[in-house]
Amino acid sequence: MSASCCPPATSTARGIRTIALAGNPNSGKTTLFNALTGMRAQTANYPGTTVERRVGRFEDSEIIDLPGLYDLEALSEEERIAARVITAKPDAVIIVADALNLSRSLFLTSQILEHGVPVVMALNMMDLAEEAGLKIDAGKLAQELGCPVIPIVARSGRGLDDLRAAIRRPAVATPATTCGACNDCRFKTRYAWTDAIAGRVMHHQSVTTHKLTERLDHVLTHPVIGVMAFVAVMLGVFFLIFQMATIPMDLIDGLFSQAGAWVAQHLPANDLRELLVQGVIGGVGGMLVFLPQICILFFCLALLEDTGYLARAAFVMDRLMRHVGLPGNSFVPLLSAHACAIPAIMATRVIEDKRDRLMTIMVLPLISCSARIPVYSMLAALLFADSAWKAAVVFTGAYLLGVLAALVVSFALKRTILRGESRPLVLELPSYKLPSLRTAVLMTMDRAWVFIKNAGTVILAISIILWALATYPKSEPPREAVALQEQAAKLTGAEAQELQKQADRLIGRSALENSVAGRVGRWIEPVLQPLGFDWQIGIGIISSFAAREVVVSTLAVVYGVGEDVAEENPDSLYDSLRKAERTDGTKVFTTATCVSLLVFYVLAMQCLATQAVTRRETNSWKWPVFQLLYMTVLAYGAALVTFQVLRAFGVT
C-alpha cells in the first residue's frame, strides 16, 4: 500500500481514500482524470454490468472516474451506478463543472451535495469562459455551496496545484446549503435554485456559443452535406488504417517469422519445437498483427471524439440508421468492423442504450473484416483468373452482401428478440476544440491493452489448440514420400532439394489428413456436401476459427502445395486448387462451389476471438452463443441455397 507521509490519517481503515470524480459529459472529466492520475489508470467493468469503471491512483487516494451524467435520479444503468458510488459515501467527490454551463453543472452538484459527502468543485474550462466574457466569482460560489471551488483549466494544467491541495485536505466541511425538498417538478425547483446561485456569482449570464462551432455546424450537421462530410472523414480514417498499418504489420510479421526460424534452428526437432514455432510464436504473431489497425482506429476515434466531431457524426447518421432500428452512433462501429470486428465491438461503448448496443454487437461480425480479404482474393482468383474487373466485382459483391446481411438481421432482431424502438437521440453537441494528443494516446493504449488481454489470450489459446488438432495423432510418412526421400539421398544439389521438398509436401499433407482436424473434416463432410464442399475444405473451415485467413494456408497444405510456396507465389496455389479433383474425377473448385464458399465466408462466425470480446462486452455467455448459432445457420442456409440454385441452373 501507499507509504505517503504528508497527508493526515484518513477515514478508511485501509489507509487508502476513495475519491469519486463526477460531472456532466463533455465537462473535461477524462482530461482531469488523466492529469491527476497520469498513466496509472486501470479499466474494468463494474461487477455484473457492462459499464466501464476507470480507477487511478492519486498519491494515497484511489480516484474513480464515474460515467458522465446529468442527473443522479435518472433510470439509465450508468446513472444508477454513479448514484450507488455516491450513496456509498466515498471519502470525497470531485465535481467537474463546466464554467461555460454553470447552471447545468449546479443541477448535478445540488444532488450530490444532498448526499452529505465531502465535495470539492473543480470549475473547469475557465479559459474558454474568460474568452466568452464570463466572470465567475469562485469565492462567492464556494460560500453559496459550502465547499471549496477551484477554478482550473484541465487541458493546460492551470489551477491543478490548488486542486491537488484541496483534495489532500481530508475533512471537507459538509455543505450547508441544499436546494431543499422538491415538490411537483424536481427539475423546476432545482433549476430555480441553480439559476439563483448562478445569477449571484456570474457577471454575464447568457453565453453565446463559439462562433466557429456555429459556422462548422452549419455545414457538418446539414442533412445532405453533413452525411457527405462524414463519409469523407471515415474514408480518411480507413485510408490511414489500411495504409499506415501495413508497415508495422509487415514488421511484426517479419519479426515473428524470424523468431520462429531462429527457434527452429536452435532447438532439436521435436514436438516442443513445433509447438513453440507454430502454436506459440505463430499465435502471438497472429494476434499482434492486428494491433496496428486497432491502435490507429482508436487513436483516430479518440481524436475525433475530443474535437467534438463524433457527436455530429452520430447526429447526421441518426435519421438514416433509424430505419433499420439502429441509433446514429452505431455507424462508427459498423464502419470500424470493416477493419476488424473486435475493436468495433469495443467501440460500441459509445452507444448508451443497452438494447441498441446489443443489436449492434450482434450484427457487427457480418461486416467483411480485413481477415476475410485473403479468402476473397483466393476465391476471386479461382472464379475469374483472367479478369481483374470481374475479381473486383466478386470483392464488391462480398462486401455488399455483408452490409446487407447486417441490415436485414438488425431489422429482423428488432421485430423478434430485441423488440422495441431504439432510444431516441438526445445528444449534446459540444463546442469544437483542438483535440488532446495525450488523451488520445492514453485511450489508444488502454484499448490496445484490453485487446491483448481479452482477444489476444483467446487467439493464442486457439492457435495452440488448433496446432494440436492438426498435429496429433501422428502418422507414418506415406510410402511415396519415403521413396522420394531415398531418391533424394542418392542425388546432390538442386535436384535433391526439389525431391526433398516434394517429399515434405506429401508428408505434411498426409499428417494433416490423419490428424484429429483431418478426421473431423471427413466426419463433417456429409454435412458440407450439400454446399459443394469436400472434406479438405472442411479442414480449412475448422482451421479458420483461429483467424479466417488461415484457411488459405491450410488449403495449401491439404492440396499438397506447401505452405511456403503458397505464401511466396499465390498463383501456384490457385493453379493447384483449380486442378484439384474429387475422388470421382470431377473438379473440386467449380464456380458453384467457389460462390457457395464465398457466401459462407461472408456470413459465418468463424472468429472465436470476436466471441470472447462479445462475451466481455455483453457480460453474458448467452449473446456470443446466440451470435455463433444464428450466423452459422445463416451462413449454412445461404451457401446451401447458392450452391443448389447454381447447380440447378447448370452452373458448374
Partner: protein, 74 residues
C-alpha cells in the same frame, strides 16, 4: 400560440409550456435544462433537430421534441 417543439422553424425562441411524456429521453432533456417555464431555442429545424439549452447545443429526435409544447416568442 402553443406549438410543438418540432414544428418551430430554425432560429425560433420559445418558452416551454408543457411536457406531455415521462419518457427517459425527456427526463434526460429536463436534466439538461428543459423545464416548464424555461427558455429554449431551435438552432436547426429537422429530424433530428438542434436546440440551444442553457448555452449548450443538443441534438434531439423529433420523436422526442413532439412531446414538448412551447409558446413561441417573437
Amino acid at each position: 400560440m402553443n406549438r410543438r417543439l418540432d414544428e418551430l422553424p430554425s432560429g425560433a425562441h420559445a418558452v416551454v409550456h408543457k411536457i406531455d411524456s415521462a419518457d427517459a429521453a425527456l427526463h434526460r432533456l429536463m436534466a439538461m435544462g428543459l423545464c416548464v417555464g424555461r427558455e429554449v431555442q431551435v438552432v436547426r429545424h429537422g429530424n433530428p433537430l438542434i436546440l440551444r439549452l442553457l448555452g449548450a447545443r443538443v441534438g434531439i429526435s423529433s420523436r422526442v421534441a413532439r412531446h414538448v409544447i412551447v409558446e413561441q416568442r417573437a
